[in-house]
Symmetry: C2
């Protein structure tokens, strides 16, 4: 066999791949529209979801390829799917997907604005590790995602730690997959806009040891019910995470070296953990947070809560940051909580964005929150 033939036959036979990408999709256009294409000569109707409130209809050309072009889009990391005659599919021409609970979505980035921070650049990259720790409180091995910044392995410095928590239905993969956390961190740190930090993304579902497929339960169908658990169970077991992190990484194990943030369900986690540990966190981020205590919404500040909040703010955190979108279903809930804080004379920062309870907002909030930390 000659070298040339050998090379070709390896290419053809290697890794069982005999699949022609049928068309170019997605195609990001210079005017910030995206063209989607799907070759499906026999389909009767195809739509694409993920670019706006309503699905977009696609049109078939004479060769059997369907396509549509979106309106001008805001810069962002978009996730989308096709519906082909009632069957929801990802884009077969696109190798890049993110999982949201049980569903896969195709990915595309419309550049500009913050989306440039969601895009990998040729900068020093941190290490992203899937790490297992044992939780004595929960009696199980549990998995977390840990980001260590680019120079961590090359020096002997200690680094501050952000605990970054996911929402209901998510797991230790969510912030990195849907939230682009490690890409955002690489870029902000390279630009000098965030200090190098360790970011710990644990699994916040107290009854679940790890993301679906990573446990002895096998390849089950994920569903959001895995997030349901008794009140305070995750919060009570949080010390196991801190103990593990501070004994296995070079951290700054004091209030000024610790931050905690979460979205939605885990905005509640971050609220309660920082409330229960007033001496532990100087930087607290509540993204679209479900601020609740003992399993119920906080309608008024009773004596217990007042004592707790006053204790937390007697030596106040440096940053106590709330962010929510105007269309978020938790907007009123958050507004009520801010009023309670105002009535107590508590100082906090507040960011109000457009939009609702979405990863678009949570990525933006992370971009705003990270530069405030450890300064």
């Amino acid at each position: 066999m000659t070298a040339a033939i050998m090379t070709i036959s390896i290419m053809q036979a290697q890794e069982s791949l005999h699949f022609d990408v049928p068309c170019i999709s997605p195609q990001v256009n210079s005017d910030s529209t995206v063209t989607l294409r799907l070759r499906a000569p026999k389909a009767k109707s195809i739509t694409v979801s993920g670019f706006g409130e309503e699905p977009l209809a696609m049109k078939q050309d004479s060769t059997g390829t369907w396509s549509t072009t979106t309106s001008v889009l805001k810069p962002d990391f978009y996730t989308y799917s096709f519906n082909v005659d009632g069957v929801r599919i990802i884009d077969p021409s696109n190798a890049y997907t993110a999982r949201d609970i049980a569903a896969l979505f195709s990915e595309v980035i419309v550049p500009g604005g913050n989306a440039n921070l969601y895009t990998v650049h040729d900068v020093p990259h941190g290490t992203v590790s899937k790490v297992w720790y044992y939780s004595p409180t929960l009696g199980m091995r549990r998995r977390m995602t840990v980001y260590t910044p680019a120079r961590y392995e090359d020096d002997t410095n200690s680094y501050p730690v952000l605990y970054l928590l996911h929402g209901s239905g998510g797991d230790e993969e969510a912030w990195n997959e849907l939230g682009r956390a490690s890409v955002i961190l690489d870029n902000l740190i390279a630009d000098g806009l965030a200090v190098p930090m360790i970011v710990v993304m644990p699994n916040g579902n107290a009854d679940q040891s790890a993301a679906p497929g990573q446990t002895s339960e096998g390849l089950y169908v994920p569903d959001a019910s895995r997030s349901r658990t008794e009140p305070l169970k995750f919060e009570q077991a949080f010390s196991d995470i801190m103990t593990f992190v501070e004994s296995h990484y070079r951290t700054c194990p004091q209030k000024s070296g610790r931050a905690i943030a979460g979205l939605s369900m885990s905005g509640g986690h971050a609220w309660r953990i920082s409330y229960l540990r007033p001496d532990d966190f100087d930087f607290i981020g509540l993204f679209s947070a479900a601020v609740r205590f003992n399993g119920t919404d906080i309608d008024e500040i009773d004596d217990t809560l007042k004592t707790g909040i006053n204790r937390q703010f007697a030596n106040p955190p440096k940053v106590y940051w709330l962010a929510i979108g105007k269309d978020d279903f938790l907007y009123d809930h958050n507004a009520h909580y801010r009023t309670l804080l105002d009535n107590l004379g508590i100082q906090y920062s507040y960011h109000e964005s457009q939009g609702g309870h979405t990863w678009t907002n949570w990525r933006d909030y992370l971009v705003l929150f990270l530069p405030m930390l450890f300064k």
Copy 2:
């Protein structure tokens, strides 16, 4: 808002998920068949590929759900896809996928035999990290997957290192995604069948810094041409990988503490690296290897090669293991190489399997190879 309503509304609104899993698929049956289902009332023809040589036809029931049940399958980790009226899709009911170059495949495990080693068990798990190093030889930052065994972070011992290399079209993700490497390692180490070791899975495409989507080139369409490079370029830059690993991990930096193995293209890498570094590796695994030198097949042993091989085996490695399937397109090529070794009186081990140039075989070979290492 009451607690109960709040919980429901979080569940409904969280993470943009409004997707009902339409049917149970895949369903692994107790007789080692697998039933696949897809709800597609308007489809005219559906097949499923991945279970045998030919696609299986699916049949539609009166509700619009298509299904088929495979024949009895050997235990394995299977990857499959549907073809719906000419459109190749993954199984919409299955959240688990692996990427092979540009194509995604749905995953299912038929238990038993080695497939039990491809299944996550409740045993101590190693850490899987995506680590970037700088290669002075190639002038680029490059990404590797590193497995450190379960107790690595808890002790101060030094560990031996296996360098595990992917084939053409693959990258630093391939061995862990398609090869189930970290799951196999966790299970074999927990069973005492393999010694705890560090496993380094670099990117073997010398002109590529990282897997698709992980570089500043963005979300391009992957293709196998990324593996094409000038002869010996990866091999010459391999010292950068060893230098990084041995300066950043607690290794046993001598011949008895190093192994190298690769499949297909990188069976060639492992062959050449171990040939060029006769004092560095005591354990060498050539899986379906493309054994070539200076860019051409080895048809006969000339004086240069004879000198090199004799130098390598003057102080022979403890394990020099070749494995190939009877139907592999590289079978004759490997048989010829074994004859050349025989003519030189070189000692090696040889494993011949059924089947061809497939991940089924490469996973099996890894299971056979790991227990031989560092003993």
